[in-house]
């Protein structure tokens, strides 16, 4: 197949993602999927795709891709691209031969790159989301050739060469809202006040402790807990290990865990948490 683009460099990670796989957790397969569904779907919408078409998710630090043929691209989330000016949250018509360098901004951690019809990637267990640990889906590395599902259409938006989302759809990840939580199933294994204590003070993503499997949170020292028998975890489970430093399970995380789950992050608020870089305060609130 005729590649639309070639990867030149990757700072941390670059993966194909869609809405993830469902129904396979009981076999030990993580759900995977967009870590920030809001931004991923916005990218798809900007190039007239279905919301869950396959996009490329670019991790902290960004990367460079060379586009070989004229095409529309959409870029949303954390990163920006220097075309005439550094811009993010846009769709633009680019000429074959263009080099697209995604550079990190203070706005967040994850960037999404969509093209009309979506990226072509192998589907495994009902999803194109790559899962490194399971070795399923198509991996992207430096020099990977990237193929579109259909030949790019130059005339997608006639007479227009630039699109922006409405202002309401653009999130400022520098100002996250209070992240909503529901109480977890293991509060009876923990200190009585643990949830009140948890929401009383700010938390920060650990600088070396976050990836698509989980986010370790740094903050106040919580009372230590005991381990439990392996229990199913969901995306957004906040587990409390004996160290007292909580871990939020993310999309690529294990399907079971051995630490008490004190709370679960509301599914609609997970993308805010996912995009919050280390060093920025996150506050939680109870949504009972």
């Amino acid at each position: 197949m005729n590649p639309l683009a070639t990867v030149k460099s990757i700072a941390t990670t670059m993966t194909f993602q869609d809405a993830g796989r469902h129904g396979w957790r009981r076999f030990g397969i993580a759900p995977c999927g967009f870590i920030d569904p809001h931004s991923a779907r916005l990218a798809n919408r900007l190039v007239n795709n279905l919301p869950d078409d396959t996009v490329i998710e670019i991790g902290p630090g960004g990367g460079t891709i060379v586009i070989h043929h004229d095409t529309w691209i959409a870029l949303t989330g954390a990163g920006s691209v220097a075309l005439q000016n550094p811009i993010n949250n846009f769709a633009v018509f680019v000429r074959g031969g263009s080099s697209i360098t995604i550079t990190p901004t203070a706005n967040g951690l994850w960037t999404y790159l969509a093209i009309p019809s979506g990226w072509n990637a192998e589907s495994a267990f009902g999803s194109t989301s790559h899962h490194a640990r399971s070795g399923i889906g198509t991996a992207i590395h430096s020099d990977s050739q990237l193929v579109a599902n259909e030949a790019a259409k130059g005339d997608l938006f006639l007479g227009v060469n630039y699109r922006r989302p409405t202002i309401d759809d653009v999130r400022n990840f520098c100002e996250p809202p209070l992240i909503r939580l529901t109480p977890g199933p293991h509060l009876d294994r923990c200190d009585d006040n643990i949830l009140r204590q948890f929401i009383a003070s700010p938390w920060q993503t650990s600088a070396n402790g976050f990836d698509r499997t989980g986010y370790q949170l740094n903050g106040q020292q919580l009372a230590d807990t005991k381990t439990i028998h392996s229990t199913p975890v969901v995306v957004g489970s906040i587990q409390l290990p004996p160290s007292g430093q909580p871990i939020v399970t993310m999309n690529d995380g294990p399907t079971v865990g051995g630490y008490p789950v004190i709370a679960v992050v509301h599914a609609d608020d997970l993308s805010w948490l996912a995009q919050t870089p280390p060093g920025r305060d996150i506050y939680f609130t109870l949504d009972e």
């Binding site: 076999f27 640990r133 399907t255 079971v256």
Partner: protein, 217 residues
């Protein structure tokens, strides 16, 4: 169905778990039997409102398509037809050849006060039962480990356990199905495939199956 044919005696502890999920645990009686029956029932019914379920050691996660309430979950569990545990058990036995050449064999021998041959003998003697799958694709938690080999996990997990690493952790035995970081004590290795994503039967082991390790000479 007569009332006697229901799991009427089984009590379930039901707890909300996220906006669309519940964690349910058998609170009395035969925990493993009740979870096996639940897994069996869900596999054999098209539970329309349920999107997914996951069995753990002593609990199960039920995820629903739409947020629901405890009463609905309770009636789902109480209306579940009685499943004879023996019907739900599989009669599949996997014979898995192991080269006992793992890096933790000596430490396990020291910690358990046994010599290496005795560790191998006690690890390969029992017929294990797959309790549930989790952690990584096709990774099975095996019940039946000899109590003298119940040892804590390593203080610092290894950054990489190979696929096929035969290991023990706590009260369980297991085999790493894909290369992952891991904290279990590594006793040996097998070529027996456990996860084959591009085949019609990607997962070798299923809950209820039996596993017998055979020491490769």
């Amino acid at each position: 169905m007569s009332p006697a044919k229901r799991n009427a005696a089984q009590h379930w502890d039901i707890r909300r778990y996220g906006h669309d999920g519940f964690l349910v645990s058998p609170s009395t009686g035969d925990v493993l039997g009740a979870l096996t029956a639940l897994d069996h029932h869900l596999k054999n019914t098209a539970a329309g409102e349920l999107s997914e379920w996951v069995i753990g050691y002593d609990s199960a996660l039920l995820l629903f398509r739409e947020p629901t309430n405890e009463n609905i979950v309770a009636s789902l569990l109480n209306d579940m037809p009685y499943v004879d545990h023996e019907t739900a058990e599989s009669n599949i036995i996997h014979h898995i050849e192991v080269s006992y050449d793992g890096p933790d064999l000596e430490e396990v021998a020291t910690a358990s006060g046994l010599d290496i041959d005795e560790v191998i003998r006690r690890h390969s003697a029992p017929t294990y039962r797959v309790r549930f799958l989790g952690f990584a694709p096709g990774f099975a938690y095996l019940d039946g480990l000899d109590p003298s080999l119940h040892l804590p996990r390593r203080d610092t997990p290894r950054p990489r356990m190979n696929a096929g690493a035969v290991a023990i952790g706590g009260t369980h035995a297991g085999i790493y199905s894909v290369p992952t970081p891991g904290g279990w004590n590594w006793l040996g290795n097998t070529d027996h495939p456990l996860f084959q994503p591009n085949t019609t039967n990607p997962f070798t082991l299923a809950p209820g199956d039996s596993v017998q390790f055979i020491a490769k000479s």
